[in-house]
C-alpha cells in the first residue's frame, strides 16, 4: 500500500514537474520562473483553497469536529517547536537563536505541501475535510511566538519594534489574511454563490500547481547548491523532523476522530515547514538568525522530502490507523 501510493504519487504530473524543476536546478539550467509569476500563482492557489474550503464547510455545516481540529492544529503549532528546538540544539549543533528560528519554521506549515497532499488524497478518494484549510491557516503563526520565546534573551535587541509589530506580522501576515479571507468568502457565498467564479479557481488549479511545483523544484535545488550553511547533521534533521512530526500529527488527528484523509492532512501539516510566512517574520524579529539555515532546511531538504516521501508516509500511516 505504501509503495503503491508512493509510486502513484511519484508519477503524478505535479510531482513530475517538481522533479523536472529540481533536475533543471541541479544541472544549472537557466530555466526560471519570474518572481512575480511565482507570487501570483501562490496568491491564486491560496485564494482557491480558501474559497473551496469555505464552500465545503458551508455545505457540510459546522460541527464540533471543526473546533477539535482547530484546537489540535493550534496545539501542534505551539508544542511541536519545543522538542524540535531541543533536537536542533543537541543533534543539530545550532546555537539558541538559530535553533529557535528553525523550530518556528517546522512548527508552522507549508501551503504548497498542504495543497499537494490534498490533491493526492483526493486522487486516492479520501479528500480532507474542507475545514482543514482553516486548520492550516490557524497553524501558520502560533509557532512563531513559541520560537521567539525559545530564542529568549535574543529578543531584546529587536525589542523596540517587536511588541505590536510582531503581533501584527503574526496575525495580519499576507498568507493568513488571504487564506482566512477567502475561506470566509467561501462560507458566505456558499456553493450557489460560487458558481460564477469556480471555473477559474477549479479549471486551472492543478495546472497552476504543476507550474508552481516546477518553480519549487528549481528554487529548492538552487538553494541546496548555493547554501553554505547546511551541515550533514542538519540535512538529516530535515528528514527526521518531518517524519516524527508527521507521525504525531496523524496520531493526534486519528485520536480526535478525524476521517482518514483529514488525519493524514493534519500529519502532513505537522510534517511541513514554512518557507513563506515564518522566514519574513524571523528576519524581522530574530535578524541574528541565519536564514540560510532555516530556509535551507525547510526548502531544500524537507519540502522535497515531504512531496516525495513524507506525504505518502502520512497517508499510509493514517490508512493503517483507520483500519
Amino acid at each position: 500500500m505504501v509503495a503503491e501510493t508512493g509510486l502513484s504519487v511519484l508519477l503524478s504530473p505535479m510531482i513530475l514537474f517538481f522533479v523536472l524543476g529540481a533536475f533543471a536546478g541541479m544541472a544549472r539550467s537557466d530555466l526560471s520562473v519570474p518572481e512575480p509569476i511565482a507570487k501570483g500563482m501562490s496568491l491564486y492557489l491560496m485564494a482557491a483553497i480558501g474559497l473551496k474550503g469555505g464552500i465545503q464547510v458551508a455545505e457540510a455545516g459546522f460541527s464540533s469536529a471543526i473546533l477539535l481540529a482547530l484546537a489540535a492544529g493550534i496545539a501542534l503549532s505551539l508544542l511541536l517547536p519545543v522538542p524540535a528546538y531541543a533536537v536542533l540544539r543537541k543533534a543539530g549543533g545550532l546555537d539558541r537563536v538559530n535553533a529557535a528560528a528553525v523550530a518556528a519554521h517546522y512548527g508552522s506549515v507549508s501551503v504548497v505541501t498542504f495543497v499537494t497532499g490534498s490533491e493526492i488524497l483526493t486522487s486516492l478518494a479520501m479528500p480532507p475535510a474542507g475545514y482543514m484549510v482553516a486548520v492550516m491557516a490557524a497553524m501558520e503563526t502560533p509557532a512563531i511566538i513559541v520560537g521567539l520565546l525559545l530564542a529568549g534573551g535574543a529578543l531584546g535587541s529587536g525589542a523596540r519594534r517587536s511588541g505590536t509589530a510582531l503581533w501584527h506580522e503574526t496575525f495580519l501576515n499576507g498568507a493568513v489574511v488571504l487564506l482566512v479571507g477567502s475561506f470566509v468568502i467561501g462560507l458566505i457565498i456558499g456553493k450557489d454563490g460560487a458558481v460564477p467564479v469556480l471555473p477559474f479557481f477549479e479549471t486551472g488549479f492543478r495546472g497552476v500547481l504543476c507550474l508552481f511545483l516546477l518553480d519549487m523544484g528549481l528554487v529548492a535545488a538552487r538553494r541546496l547548491r548555493e547554501t553554505r550553511s547546511l551541515t550533514w547533521r542538519l540535512v538529516g534533521l530535515g528528514v527526521l523532523l518531518p517524519l516524527l512530526q508527521g507521525g504525531v500529527g496523524v496520531l493526534v488527528g486519528t485520536a480526535i476522530g478525524l476521517d482518514t484523509g483529514s488525519a493524514a492532512t493534519l500529519g502532513i501539516l505537522a510534517a511541513s515547514a514554512s518557507y513563506i510566512a515564518v522566514p519574513a517574520v524571523m528576519r524581522m524579529s530574530l535578524p541574528q538568525a541565519d536564514p540560510g539555515v532555516s530556509l535551507g532546511m525547510a526548502l531544500a531538504v524537507t519540502f522535497p522530502f515531504n512531496v516525495t516521501v513524507g506525504i505518502p508516509a502520512c497517508i499510509a500511516l493514517a490508512t493503517r490507523f483507520a483500519a
Binding site: K39, R161, D215, M216, R283, G292
Partner: protein, 104 residues
C-alpha cells in the same frame, strides 16, 4: 550651472526586504524623510550567491537610497552602525551635488 547647488551625502543601504521598515524608521529618527527603494535582483556576499527568484521573499533585498545633509547622514550612520553585522546590512556613503538642495 546657474542654479544654487549644494553638496549632500548620498547614502545607500543594502538591506533585506523584511528589514526595510527598520532602516526607514532609523532614517525618520535621523530626520531623513525622503528616500527611494531600488530593486536588487541578485548578488553575493559572505553567505553565497542569491537571486530574487526565491519563493520566500525573506532574503530578497532592496537598496535604500537617500540624499541628505552631512549632519542627518551622521545621525543615520550612528543609528545603523550597531545593526550592520547583526542584521547583515551593507552601508556606503558618497558625495553628490544637488540642485536646489535646500530641502534635503
Amino acid at each position: 550651472m546657474i542654479a544654487n547647488i549644494v553638496q549632500r551625502r548620498r547614502i545607500e543601504v543594502l538591506v533585506d526586504r523584511p528589514l526595510v521598515p527598520l532602516v526607514i524608521d532609523a532614517a525618520n529618527r535621523a530626520g531623513i524623510s525622503g528616500y527611494s527603494l531600488l530593486r536588487v535582483e541578485g548578488g553575493a556576499g559572505r553567505n553565497g550567491a542569491w537571486a530574487d527568484e526565491e519563493i520566500s521573499g525573506a532574503q530578497a533585498k532592496q537598496i535604500f537610497l537617500a540624499v541628505a545633509s552631512q549632519e542627518k547622514t551622521d545621525r543615520l550612520v550612528d543609528h545603523l552602525s550597531p545593526l550592520l553585522d547583526s542584521h547583515g546590512l551593507v552601508l556606503f556613503v558618497g558625495t553628490v551635488d544637488v540642485v536646489r538642495g535646500g530641502r534635503f
